[in-house]
């Protein structure tokens, strides 16, 4: 009961933050969608990091570590610790500047202007929006499940999902980007502080970690399954898969909610601390999660893959008091509720890339822009809730869609890089890369579905999907690989290839547009002054 009460207090606090942000804001579109590009360095870092944190960082990562061991940290955390700050450094800062200078609020607005492309921009809008939707639905589903679990069934899945959807919708509706950023910053502080406290409390209760690790190291091989000592190394992760995972964090900056968040900083200088501290924040969250996942393997052996996702909750329940457990439960809710920035991003995209682009703001004025955004927030949140209810038992579909979305967004990174740094790039190159990405996502989905019948069990070697093609397409327990590499790798390389090849044989945008985005050296300053006046 106590954990459930703490979670409800937490929900009330985030709701208050959203309403408080509403009082601080103006009613313009730029204020609602980007907090008037005014976030300070601390809120910018914490909210950007919090936006990127999903339930997977805590629950999924520890569950995966329970099954495959400490290698999960290198697989997902330390790869993100270098790739995400690099992409924020090179792409985020440029998006921020171009957004401020030319008034862009979304990636599509920038791409449309940069390549003089309306229709292709709409196509990119459609695929990015489609890849974002599953996250929002999973967020509502996760909220319902977590609230039901924390309250021990007192709150049903349906009511829990509704509470989460209404709370998120309310603070995004009122607070817009300012409210969302403050809530995300608050959530990140909650995580960083109480996560560390829980880690030490569990360590204390267990009498330190030395003995448990030594036991795991020397545990005898069970009659069925691999030796537990493998969890202390990377033996359960194929090297090709480990390398492929380096491409996944490229998706981060292509997620609309992250790219839009990059445009909220007050000054470019705010990016400095963000990119330096980002790797440390990742380590602070993921290191205890992975470590505890491995520890749980010795405490609760024999859990199935679905059950192992709750090992952190099991450890908390077993080794901490109800208050700490409740606060951590609130932290887990915070992760699950990461859908706030995604709802806002989708609303921003609908308003800017569709409503404004097709003349809505011009016809109805700037205030209508903010209200259109709020209307979209309500529509998106309620639609997500209805889908979460209708497909209650089909969460795996959306989880799968999210996995594909990571690869899809990663494969769009070359498009953004080309737009920002390659003058010769063209809209046709962008279209070719986007079509390639979409095609690959569908092809992977098809291969995964059609090979379900031959999928090997966990720990068994991969099986060729088309024996005549040898190792080209292999089916693993829960994935499809291309010569052993995850599809994301050929997707990113292929996207870059099509971007370059098609750009080289198609005409560039007009000289006026090129001069706008690539002013001759030394003229950036005068260009900026001119655009200000």
């Amino acid at each position: 009961m106590i954990p459930a009460v703490i979670v409800f207090i937490y929900l009330a606090v985030v709701l208050y933050i959203g309403i408080f942000a509403f009082r601080k804001g103006t009613n313009s579109g730029e204020d609602f969608f980007l907090a008037s590009r005014s976030l300070g360095p601390a809120v910018f870092l914490l909210s950007l990091f919090g936006t990127n944190m999903t339930a997977f960082a805590i629950l999924g990562s520890s569950g995966l570590a329970y099954r495959v061991g400490i290698g999960v940290f290198g697989l997902m955390a330390s790869s993100s610790a270098i790739i995400i700050p690099l992409s924020i450094f090179f792409i985020g800062t440029r998006l921020w500047w171009l957004g401020k200078r030319f008034g862009h609020m979304t990636q599509v607005q920038y791409l449309r202007d940069r390549w003089e492309c309306g229709g292709i921009g709409t196509f990119i809008f459609a695929i990015t929006a489609a890849m974002l939707v599953p996250y929002i639905i999973i967020g509502v589903m996760g909220g319902g499940q977590t609230l039901a679990a924390i309250s021990k069934g007192l709150v049903s899945y349906e009511v829990g999902g509704l509470i989460v959807a209404v709370v998120v919708m309310s603070y995004v509706f009122f607070g817009g980007m300012r409210g969302t950023a403050w809530v995300n910053a608050f959530q990140t502080i909650l995580f960083l502080s109480f996560g560390a406290v829980a880690f030490f409390l569990i360590a204390q209760q267990l009498g330190g970690f030395d003995r448990i690790m030594q036991d795991l190291l020397h545990a005898p091989k069970p009659p069925k399954g691999p030796p537990p000592a493998q969890l202390l190394s990377r033996e359960r992760i194929p090297p090709a898969e480990f390398l492929s995972y380096m491409f996944i964090p490229l998706s981060s900056i292509m997620f609309p909610h992250i790219a839009i968040m990059c445009m909220t900083a007050e000054k470019i200088g705010h990016f400095k601390k963000t990119v330096i501290l980002y790797p440390l924040c990742i380590a602070a969250i993921w290191l205890p999660s992975i470590f505890l996942g491995v520890i749980a393997a010795s405490q609760f052996p024999g859990l199935t893959p679905g059950e192992s996702d709750s090992v952190i909750i099991r450890l908390l329940t077993a080794f901490t008091g109800p208050v700490v457990s409740g606060i951590l439960g609130a932290g887990i809710m915070a992760c699950v509720m990461a859908s706030d920035s995604q709802i806002l991003a989708l609303s921003t995209m609908f308003t800017e890339d569709v409503f404004t682009y097709y003349g809505g703001t011009k016809r109805f004025g700037d205030k209508a822009q903010a209200w259109a955004g709020r209307t979209f927030v309500v529509i998106i949140a309620l639609t997500a809730y209805v889908i979460a209810l209708m497909l209650k038992n089909n969460a795996s579909i959306f989880e799968l869609a999210i996995r594909f979305a990571f690869s899809g967004f990663s494969a769009l990174a070359p498009v953004m890089l080309a737009a920002l740094f390659w003058k010769r790039s063209t809209k046709w190159g962008a279209l070719a890369a986007s079509v390639w990405t979409t095609g690959c996502v569908f092809a992977t989905w098809y291969l995964l579905n059609m090979s379900t019948g031959i999928a090997p069990k966990p720990g068994q070697p991969p099986v060729p999907i088309f024996p005549g093609l040898g190792d080209m397409f292999l089916r693993t327990f829960n994935n499809v690989t291309v010569y052993g590499y995850l599809p994301v790798m050929p997707m990113v390389i292929g996207s870059a290839f099509w971007m370059v090849l098609v750009s080289l044989v198609t005409p560039t945008p007009s000289q006026k547009t090129l001069d706008r985005y690539f002013p001759p050296k030394g003229e950036q300053l005068s260009e900026a002054s001119a655009s200000a006046s």
């Binding site: 610790a81 690099l86 800062t93 030594q214 033996e235 400095k272 501290l277 440390l280 002054s529």
Partner: protein, 81 residues
């Protein structure tokens, strides 16, 4: 400097693939698996790499242009008032 920093970034990216520790189960300080300790240290190296980029490869031209834009905005606002 540009080439030196590019080399540093490439080396850091390559260091992520620590294949030499693949099966090593040594426990650092008696409790921390060496593979995990390596990647925790790697996160610190990543932070240091970013510090190097911020220090020596910061897009100063954007910073200067932004200041010019802000100054222009302030003077325009001043004229209006």
């Amino acid at each position: 400097m540009k080439w030196l920093l590019t080399t540093v970034v490439i080396v850091v990216l390559l260091l992520h693939q620590d294949f030499w520790l693949w099966t090593n189960k040594t426990l650092v300080f008696g409790f921390l698996p060496i593979g995990l300790a390596y990647h925790a240290l790697y996160s610190l190296v990543a932070a240091f790499t970013m510090w190097l980029l911020v220090r020596f490869a910061w897009p100063k031209e954007i910073e200067a242009a932004d200041e010019a834009l802000n100054a222009q905005g302030r003077s325009t606002a001043g004229e209006r008032s």
